[in-house]
């Protein structure tokens, strides 16, 4: 066996190009369906996990998938806002508790999300450095965001202007980093969290008066590029809107019990302006579509597999014909037919083994890359 392995390896090594094509062809045929199945399965599990930890989302009427996905994963938010009063009203009904979210801003292209401090407890997020009980102008940074932006407690980060041509718009805010979150393996790792008040400041609904010693904040924006909240000028900031009309993008709703869930669902079912969506149902609906696409790809992969096997078979047959003289020489010298068949089988087994190892490596790499891009736990 040792000699057969030696001979097979020498053959594969000598005809490197042909061997590499066979290995790569088989690797892709094996790795693609396995990797896509694993990635989709892991992504599905990750989506379900976050959805199951988020019972309902309350938001403005519109695309329900957008509302749920953007509230869970903080994507580019072009959702219509609702009033904070809508959320407070639900809380006053005692049928459930609500955690409002306010999206729509970024800092160096990373989402800035306005939340109450209760959000951290709800998501079981804790600081690895600093604290989470933010005040106006403070920011708590997710672990990956902190790594990408190289932020630490005490640093400042300037929010992005909404549009380069937004001359009449609101100025950015230079946020003060007060805490870095422990990694959670969720979308929360890639976010900058501020208080709801800070997100309203970013909306231009609040302004303050400058402290000439420390502040660059100027409510009139004359010659000042950005706002900065400091301990000295914090008290001068105030809201320029009715508190009941302050906007939020959505709210995470946790019904008190099953009865509360039923009542809340009924309440918002016929609302003209609001919708209440059960996250797990929406995610299952999305995953059902993904499964349909997966089924299509599975069929496609079966055809690719058949084509690849035919291709490999053709190469094996052609190779055996090309090697007829060589194999006859071996038999003339004294090799058995079993030996020459075994030799060719060993070569094929080595190619399949190499393709298998490469497939595992590619699958693991794919899972790692997908994990980074898809917020998978």
């Amino acid at each position: 066996m040792k000699h057969m392995l030696f001979m097979a390896w020498q053959h594969l090594r000598f005809y490197k190009f042909r061997s590499a094509i066979l290995v790569m062809g088989l690797t892709l045929t094996i790795a693609l369906p396995i990797a896509s199945h694993l990635i989709i399965s892991k992504y599905g599990a990750s989506l379900r996990s976050r959805a199951n930890a988020t019972p309902y989302i309350l938001g403005a009427r519109g695309n329900r998938f957008d509302l749920v996905l953007k509230s869970l994963y903080f994507g580019d938010a072009d959702l219509d806002a609702i009033y904070l009063e809508d959320v407070n009203q639900l809380e006053r009904s005692k049928w459930g508790t609500a955690i409002p979210l306010h999206l729509g801003h970024t800092a160096k292209d990373i989402p800035v999300v306005g939340v109450p401090v209760a959000y951290f407890e709800f998501r079981q997020l804790a600081a690895s450095d600093g604290r989470v009980d933010f005040d106006l102008g403070d920011v708590v940074v997710g672990s990956i965001a902190a790594e990408e932006l190289r932020l630490k407690v005490g640093d400042r980060i300037l929010t992005d202007r909404k549009s380069l041509y937004d001359i009449a718009g609101t100025n950015p805010v230079n946020l003060n980093v007060i805490g870095i979150l422990k990694p959670s393996g969720t979308a929360d790792d890639r976010v900058l969290f501020t208080s709801l008040e800070t997100s309203w400041l970013l909306d231009g609904l609040m302004h303050g008066h400058a402290d000439p010693e420390h502040s660059s904040a100027d409510a009139h924006g004359k010659g000042v590029a950005y706002h900065e909240v400091t301990p000295e000028n914090r008290s001068s900031f105030h809201l320029h809107a009715f508190p009941a009309e302050t906007p939020v993008t959505a709210a995470i709703i946790t019904p008190k019990d099953q009865k509360g869930a039923t009542i809340l669902e009924a309440r918002y079912e016929n609302s003209d302006t609001l919708q209440l969506q059960e996250c797990s149902l929406i995610i299952e609906e999305i995953l059902a579509m993904v499964v349909q696409i997966q089924t299509f790809f599975d069929t496609y992969y079966v055809f690719v597999l058949i084509a690849t096997l035919l291709f490999v078979g053709l190469i094996v047959v052609l190779s055996a014909q090309l090697r007829r003289a060589e194999l006859e020489t071996m038999r003339h010298i004294g090799a058995s037919r079993g030996y020459t068949i075994g030799l060719q089988t060993t070569e094929l087994a080595m190619i399949v083994a190499m393709a298998g190892v490469l497939s595992i490596a590619i699958t693991l790499l794919g899972l790692q890359i997908a994990g980074q891009y898809l917020n998978m736990a």
């Binding site: 010298i333 004294g334 058995s336």
Partner: protein, 221 residues
Amino acid sequence: MVQFTDVEFTYPDRAFAVSIPELAVDDGQHVAIVGPSGSGKSTLVNLIAGALIPQKGSITTCDTKLTGLDDAARRRFRLKRIGMVFQEFSLLEYLNVRDNILLPFRLGALTMPSDANDRADQLAQSVGLDRHLTRYPRQLSFGERQRIAICRALITSPSIVLADEPTGNLDAATTNEVMAILTDRAKASKATLIMVTHNIELLNRFDRTIDVTQFATAAHQ
């Protein structure tokens, strides 16, 4: 010693047959097999090697009655006792010179001796190929390739070396060089040399010449 007694062989398609009532080759003899194309030279070599088995009669090679052995035993016998040299060199392109010489030990029926590498290197040195041990056949001349084939035939220290027109593809100068190496090496290892050739100029190098025309019979209808 090679002994043929009342041998009759016909190919399965019955297109060609040989009949050899009596043929003996002594140990250590150098024998040339001659005859026109298609007269049965290669058939005779294959019968001696046990690669073909006659329908009648018996063949004894090196005190072993080949006609009484099964296929596996004949293959083992061939690997152990017979070295073969072919006209087309029949080297494996993907093995280097040393591994081509060691090929008989890698075909599954013989145990590779611990000094096999040294033996291969010595053989290569004796035919002037010691500087090319790690090169591949394509990188060598025809003469050098045939010298590798001779080393491969001798690596198992065979009792008989069968050569089927080993100089058929070589020019005159290289033919002389290869013939000198083949006969010298066979003599040095006290092996019987049986060689098919068309080249009558080479016949004076042999102890004896066998013309196979006498053995060929008409095709059976």
